[in-house]
């Protein structure tokens, strides 16, 4: 009889911090104590606290261990598993709790309390490589219900009523998309799942595929039934090897159980899914480029119309949704459209997953009801900004999105509120910045990305983004004029209006939104030749003040010999030689070196 389940995270984050070794150590230690028939070790998907991995949780107590190393396992087994004493010192200490209170249970922690898990509901709960566990948590019930009790039109109505909108970026109403696809009279149709996830720093879709791959298979089957498709494609980047493997395992298991294939649940419905690997180009997440890539051609966008719902993969009408969009579907069918619509705001229903990163205490994956404010995400769930620094801005929507300044921290996170302030929901990257971040530098970072990722098919994007980047470089080097700022802005609008696909059309957004909220910072670079955050190297200098005691430490540490001065006398830095590495400042015991 099994009395304990030990769940160990097998997501990408924890795998790279060594969770497989933890699993091995557990199995060995349990066998040594002859406990293998009483305690079951289960590998799961991501818990969302990847930075604290490897994560391990012991049931039925629900004790949550973080940063688990194989060396801790003998103690945990002998104390916790055998004697029933939770090993407190290895538990996850809620970093936001000033009193240092330890939490035994996951749902008590500040990180999880305000979250609401719908798309991620099985991540960190089930073994994604075991279809029976998915079934145990209501898996494939929704598909069974749809096939045996509902007409395609009823399914589409249910999704419409739920208010679900696409999680891939644009927020198109999913029910409407299904409806349009179902109206096409073609005998052969496809459904497609966009798992390209090219936004730098985002890993929501990867986590869903790693932690709950059957949910995607089930949802695509439901979509296929609703729109009348016979085949599905999942386009996933080859850089996600764990997700690809788990999805393939899941597809094989579903086929074995007859949940994919002919006459599913004894009905006339037949459906199959194929995985297609992408090489990891950002533009291939754009749906027309994605479909071109699936066909085996170079992944370049094409003009719409014709829309994929008329002419998709291999010219067959195709209905495409994002991974997270799909992950919501089975729950909506089982719990009803009203349940889903009860979460969120007027026009943005349900929840959204974000990959929280940057200058924030709790980095990781969070799922929140739409309408949660940025403040709640940053201060409550994220635990605030580390090192007592001040919050400056948050970037959503990655290279296509914009920033939200500190003055708008109470903005509710939903499609329309974000669009109104010049940012966008995007796929769910959320990067937090503090006072040490230079906003011009941030814009430059995203432009470097889009210049690299532009496919080159259309001129406004291929040449225009390059020019934008050159302006930004000029600004950060202190060589720009106020005229350049105006020209930069004008070019932004030109590219937005004339690029062929979403990549080019949204590429200027990081510039436009930083210009809107941080114009004074641009002006400081241009007019005063200063970088207020002290980031842009060309605009700052290291200087030694009168606090210098002449200890010679900095002169010895400087890698380029830029510091001179006699012992016990004030030293000086030669600006012509200095490469601005900062070593001298970090090393000075008298804080005599400043950056300005």
């Amino acid at each position: 009889m099994i009395r304990n389940h030990i769940l160990v995270c097998g997501g990408t984050g924890c795998t790279s911090s060594g969770s497989q070794k933890v699993i091995e150590a557990l199995n060995t230690e349990l066998a040594n104590n002859n406990l293998q028939d009483e305690v079951k070790v289960v590998m799961t998907g991501c818990f969302g606290l990847c930075a604290l991995g490897p994560i391990m949780i012991v049931y039925p107590e629900g004790a949550f261990y973080s940063r688990v190393a194989p060396e801790m396992i003998p103690e945990i087994v002998s104390e916790h598993i055998i004697k029933g004493r939770v090993v407190k010192k290895y538990l996850y200490t809620d970093t936001t709790d000033e009193k240092g209170i330890e939490h035994d249970s996951l749902s008590d922690t500040d990180f999880y309390k305000k979250q609401k898990r719908v798309a991620l509901r099985n991540c960190g709960v089930i073994n994604p490589e075991n279809i029976d566990e998915y079934i145990a948590y209501d898996g494939y019930e929704a598909l069974g219900k749809v096939l045996t009790e509902m007409t395609p039109a009823e399914v589409i109505q249910c999704i419409k009523d739920s208010g679900l909108r696409g999680r891939g970026g644009a927020g198109f109403p999913t029910g409407l998309k299904w409806d349009l696809a179902s109206r096409n009279k073609s005998k052969i149709k496809y459904v497609c799942c966009n798992a390209d996830e090219g936004d730098p720093g985002a890993f929501m879709d990867r986590s869903v595929l790693e932690g709950d791959p059957h949910a995607i298979i089930e949802a695509m089957s439901i979509a296929a039934y609703a729109v009348g498709a016979c085949k599905g494609f999942v386009y996933i980047r080859a850089e996600y090897p764990i997700a690809v493997r788990r999805l393939q395992i899941a597809i094989n298991q579903a086929k074995e159980y007859g949940l994919l294939g002919e006459n599913i649940f004894g009905t006339d419905f037949s459906f199959d899914i194929e995985i297609r690997l992408g090489a990891g180009a950002f533009v291939c997440g754009e749906e027309t480029a994605l479909m071109t890539s699936i066909e085996g051609n170079r992944g370049e966008p094409r003009p719409r119309p014709p829309f994929p719902s008329d002419k998709g993969i291999f010219s067959i009408p195709t209905m495409n949704n994002n991974v997270e969009t799909y992950a919501n579907i089975p729950q909506i069918i089982l719990k009803g459209a009203d349940w889903f619509a009860s979460m969120g705001t007027e026009k943005s229903k349900g929840t959204k997953v974000f990959a929280l990163g940057g200058k924030i205490v709790n980095t990781g994956l969070v799922e929140i009801p739409m309408g949660t404010t940025l403040r709640e995400i940053i201060e409550d769930i994220g635990g605030g900004i580390p090192n007592g620094k001040k919050f400056k801005a948050a970037q959503t929507g990655g290279p296509s999105g914009g920033c939200i300044p500190a003055s708008l921290i109470d903005t509710p996170i939903d499609y329309d509120s974000l669009a109104a302030i010049g940012s966008m929901m995007g796929s769910g990257g959320l990067i937090v910045m503090d006072e040490d971040n230079c906003m011009v530098d941030i814009a430059k970072f995203f432009l470097e990305f889009t210049v690299d990722e532009s496919c080159g098919k259309c001129t406004p994007c291929r040449i225009g983004t390059k020019r934008l980047l050159e302006y930004l470089e000029k600004i950060t080097e202190g060589k720009a004029t106020m005229q350049d700022l105006d020209d930069l802005e004008e070019l932004c609008y030109y590219i937005k209006d004339n690029a062929l696909c979403g990549l080019g059309q949204t590429a200027p957004n990081p510039i436009l939104s930083t210009l809107r909220y941080f114009k004074d910072e641009y002006i400081a670079h241009v007019v005063d030749k200063k970088c207020p955050a002290g980031v842009c190297k060309s605009l700052m200098q290291y200087k030694i003040t009168d606090a210098c005691k002449g200890c010679t430490l900095c002169a010895r540490k400087c890698p380029v010999g830029a510091i001179s001065g006699a012992v016990k006398e004030k030293h000086t830095i030669d600006p012509a030689k200095c490469i601005k590495c900062g070593v001298c400042m970090a090393g000075c015991k008298f804080n005599a070196i400043i950056k300005e």
Binding site: M1, I2, P60, K83, R85, D132, E133, A136, Y137, Y257
Partner: protein
Amino acid sequence: MKSLEELRAIKAKMQNSVQLRGVEDEDSVTRVVVGMATCGIAAGARPVLNKFIEEVQNRGLKNVLVTQTGCIGVCRLEPIVEVITPTGEKTTYVKMNADKVAKVVHEHLVNNKVVDEYTIANAD
């Protein structure tokens, strides 16, 4: 998969697993806590724990959580088991063995009747 019944059969088979990983409604849980320190183990706490788990699973009792704890403090009365109801009433059973477990499960957990003869109040 030819029918929903087939799917539900698999689900039923897996139900034990699901239950171990947390109960839906934390507030309606009865906890069975078995003392598993060295003294408890020496006195035979392990078979007691296993018997509880077996009985609870076989009877499909929802909202019962069997856990372990360290030394409860009265070593000569081990194995000791505490049953804590959702309202917080605590019953301490002492000198437990597998047969007594069956009776506690049947009377206390199923029929909500404390088995007085095994409680600490009646220990000699």
